[in-house]
Symmetry: C3
Subunit: 343 residues, 3 copies
């Protein structure tokens, strides 16, 4: 169903405080906590003593103390100690490789002995002060692939997000989709159009005339296991479009990390990084609020779509040219799933 | 379980506005909308493109526009168009025959090629200005047949509705039940009794002395698939009872349309038409409010009865003389179900 | 799963008022009501007429009148009468032996012909004015045995109840567990320690210096089917501990009646009887409020433990010395379950 030997975003780093955080990722109940070095660790949320949830416990000197009977769990899933008991014979619980990067906690839910740092994606903008990031988290009751479909086909903006980022020109402009290794890229370029409300706001914020004709671009990039980065922006028409100088455009990247919780639910980490006015935290908050509203418009659609598909497993959905991004992304996933099964 | 080749009430006509309305009828997820002529149409609430719920879309010039990617669905379940795509090869979704009548939208959830206008019930009072109607809708978690049982045996009024329409005389007076073709009729006549609170109110409204002795009648009529009309009223005692002149009685009909949603839930359209003071809209509202309260008293009973029966599928329920109405109605349903299976 | 031929607490006696009370015990839906002598009776919450819940009815002269159609049910599960009907042929529903004692209603969910008064537990303190009782009821979504485990191993107090009754000395002091017939007793004695907050309060209430060193004891006693009485207290250090004179100690018994509702939920009747200031009803209320808070701290732990165990049926939980009380109690239950199957 989903790839296991991959890095998934489990949470924002700040969600793991002095207290442990319980979260299910790819059907694995995990607990995240700060280990002895301050680095975040993840083990099964299951005390090897009596099955209590370790996430109800506390962290003491970098070890997780079960809130039921005080078993002390180490970052590696081995029981360290327990008041009044020998713990040598205790079966370990699973521990999960973790990388803390870009403000997120990334977890590898699969086989720990196959952990592969090179699979960790690289994002230039998170660590570059010329960019600013804002984002949030939604829990959605749908198969993670429906969310990939959604993001790899932005023609839905015209309908779902008609009042913010949608415009009929999206629909009327064909997109091109290509596979680049394990990535899938869908491009749509619209020239000489009027910017929709969200982008008018971005142009104002960037000191550009909001009423001017613009060239608009949407470049959706899927990469395994389920990340979708979308380069979006508008430039004053005739100034080079995507390649225009920074002063002539408003440019940002929609950052989507989709983490399967179960077969029919996801943690959806949405956000946006932008290249303009990165120090303006008020603008960051404003964009995040706008994006929160826009992405909330997809929730009901995706959850009802999930129910419809579950009710009719016999039906084959149509595959149109606009679906190429989702379809090709699913093919990459299928190919990698087959590889996982064979190794 | 339930008859499919029949007309069921799906909604009040006013529920279908400029926006489409999603509702499940007989396990079919349907969406209702106004077609190009203004007539209401019903198709599956399932977009043939990617399974999105069409009910989240909008209506544009009598066609349903999917709220996800703009597929345009016609009243007949065939895709009309989709921005940027050829739709000739699209599989149609089911469309459901609809009749708009009496302020309701009637739908035929079964085989469209067996649609039969003559099965549409005829109600004289809805279109006669000498009558006034008021009603409402309850969603109840029970098998639709438990609601038929309820309405075909009004001896429950003595217990469930003790403070409004119940009185011990109902219990003490036997009823007669007969089958008339596919209809089942249960009659109970009580003579020289005191009217219960609801009927005292109706007598006052009809300028009759509320304390007078009355003859009271209850004539429950089941007709397929699951309609129950109940003629109810009181006349000043000795004035002819059911056949008394209008000035000597308060007379109305309880109008019940029971629409299965699933095997264990219903849309229950309750209401009342009355022959007295039909122009008095304040009285209509007052009666509707009273009826809403009375019918709400059945909700918990029916839902817990459903749970009890599900927990004990092995138990055979008693069939008493008071149950004749429900039992005979179920026999009609069984006979028609067998006919449906054989055609 | 649970013993059936045993006495379980169904409710506090005052919960059965003029109205009947519906409650599920050991997967049996029961209705409790006051019979003709005023004694509480219990029958299935299932009307033999049409399966309606009798608990929605009313009590009339010691008989239960169904709220749907007026069937009159006797204390023995036989239908007494029904308006307008002969009831001789009606199948009886189950009736359940009931004992009203100690302020509780005890029910025997098993075979009525095996009812055994000698299995009814005897508690001296409930009827002795030198003792005062206060308690409450929690509904918890867990197997009743997880609650027995919890109460037979008070080392969890150090972690779950750190701010009230927990203290590290509990953890550091080994306990002894023995089986005494069908009972299991776990003892822990701590000498020369400081009293935790709850016991400091009890000492103040008992006119003892709250800062004094004390000897503390915890004697947990499981008895079938699922009662756990815990003698707890503190005495001024060196005054004889458990056997100290009343003036030198604060002594009480935690009274726990665990009643399975289903295989994965319980009615948990918690409470405390105390030997000091029994007439002080303000103190009773204060202790009950404190205990309500303490026991509420176990709820989430037990419900999440239940879910964890259900998710991993293949895992064998560890059995440590601290678990001896729970483990030996489960063994008693297993032995008695085998006896039930063989008789």
């Amino acid at each position: 169903m989903f790839l296991r030997n991959q890095w998934y975003v489990a949470c924002r780093a700040e969600e793991v405080t002095d207290k442990p955080l319980g979260r299910k990722v790819c059907n694995e109940s995990m607990v995240f906590f700060k280990g002895p070095t301050g680095a975040i660790a993840a083990v099964e949320d299951f005390c090897p003593h009596r099955g209590a949830p370790l996430s109800l416990g506390r962290v003491c000197e970098g070890q997780l103390v079960c809130g039921y009977h005080g078993l002390v769990m180490g970052c590696d899933g081995h029981t360290v100690s327990m008041p009044g008991h020998q713990v040598r014979g205790f079966e370990p619980v699973k521990s999960f490789p973790v990388i803390e990067r870009y403000g997120f906690v990334w977890v590898w839910p699969g086989d720990a002995d196959k952990v592969d740092q090179t699979k960790m994606p690289v994002f230039e903008w998170f660590e570059n002060p010329a960019w600013a990031y804002g984002g949030g988290l939604y829990h959605i009751g749908c198969d993670y692939r429906l969310m990939i479909d959604n993001l790899m086909d932005l023609s839905h903006e015209t309908y779902v997000h008609a009042t913010s980022i949608g415009q009929t020109e999206i629909d009327e402009t064909p997109s091109q989709t290509v596979t680049e290794g394990n990535a899938v890229v869908t491009r749509r370029l619209m020239e000489g159009i009027k910017a929709p409300p969200f982008w008018q706001m971005a142009m104002r914020a960037n000191d550009l005339p909001e009423d001017a004709l613009v060239d608009r671009w949407q470049i959706c990039r899927f990469s395994p296991p389920s990340h979708v980065m979308i380069e979006v922006g508008v430039a004053l028409s005739g100034k080079g479009g995507y390649h225009a100088e920074a002063k002539d455009k408003a440019y940002s990247v929609v950052v989507d990390f989709i983490t399967p919780e179960t077969n029919s639910s996801i943690h959806y980490f949405w956000g946006m990084v932008r290249q303009f006015k990165p120090q303006d935290s008020e603008l960051t908050a404003k964009i995040r609020d706008g994006q929160a509203k826009i992405f909330s418009e997809d929730l009901q659609m995706l959850e009802m779509q999930q129910k419809n598909i579950e009710a009719h497993p016999e039906r084959k959905l149509k595959i149109l040219s606009i679906d190429a991004g989702g379809v090709m992304s699913r093919r990459v996933i299928e190919r990698l799933l087959a590889e996982e099964r064979n190794t």
